[in-house]
Symmetry: C2
Subunit: 152 residues, 2 copies
DNA sequence: AATCGACGGTTACGGATGCAACCAATTTTG
DNA sequence: CAAAATTGGTTGCATCCGTAACCGTCGATT
């Protein structure tokens, strides 16, 4: 294991990025081409669809997105009338975000497509490979995510 | 496994992106803060350092980067005098890219840092978890990368 | 050798993004 | 209770990025 040369194609940060890019590129066809959403918008939709009414900060935490991304995505979804803001009575800085009927409909339409996408991708792995992937990602998430406080 | 709700935090494309972002964010401190490189520039450096003289197209393939990214990164590294272009005798469209002495020095300085980074990250996993991660990534790469022709 | 399509690489342009600065509301501190 | 520090959220700015259009060169076809 010399320290002279780095095999880029085996280097973990590189591999993760390349894989994430490739998978996301594929998956983005669902929310981008078919629904005209950006990735931040898709994530906000997914967060609100999953957990219901939340504040922008909570959406950011649940979807691992910087607050500026959330702010812009929320504005875009609001313009599309897929979500609505309501003032919080007890704290006037906060806005409570909720999907509208149209937003919920879109979410319900996309969830099966997302699940099918994931299923098809994983179907190309053996059961043992899927188990290894799950275990490996869990472990790496635990090691990586908590030690790097990503969002301010 | 209802099709009503998607658990975003368990969704593969999301997990991969979040993980790649977190790990890259950490690692970028090495090439960004300490050497003032962008990620595309780091990758070009890594490709040339690993494999020696190459064309821009080959660099792009080896580092999984779009040709415009490569073009800009090469221009930046050239300006910094970390790489030099030489005309290819037999094909005047092509430029042969090589690291200069300064570029090689920088590469040799960064490789141990990169390896140490990866080692420390993986040190937080057990041996079994590392094995699972390796197997899982290998399998997913095989499933994903060849079926999505990412670059033109 | 003239034409046409492919290829290596660059660039203009529009859109996305992160950082920092900012505003307003709230909480903490003295 | 006034001042200061913190928080939720937005926006200006500079940068980055991908798409498409482009330029010059090469190879094949004729």
């Amino acid at each position: 294991m010399s320290d002279e040369i780095l095999a880029l194609e085996r280097f973990l940060p590189y591999r993760l990025n390349r894989l994430a890019d490739a998978v996301s590129r594929d998956f983005s066809r669902i929310y981008k081409e078919r629904f005209g959403l950006t990735r931040p918008e898709w994530r906000v939709l997914a967060a609100l669809g999953e957990l219901g009414t939340m504040t922008a900060t909570e959406v950011g935490r649940h979807s691992s997105q910087h607050k500026t991304k959330v702010s812009r995505a929320v504005a875009a979804l609001e313009k599309r009338r897929w979500l609505a803001r309501t003032a919080d009575e007890s704290d006037r800085r906060v806005e409570r975000l909720t999907l509208t009927k149209a937003g919920q409909d879109a979410y319900r339409e996309m969830v099966p497509l997302a699940k099918a996408f994931e299923k098809e991708l994983l179907a190309e792995l053996s059961a043992a490979e899927r188990a290894a992937l799950a275990a490996g990602l869990d472990a790496l998430e635990q090691a990586s995510l908590d030690r790097s406080n990503q969002f301010d």
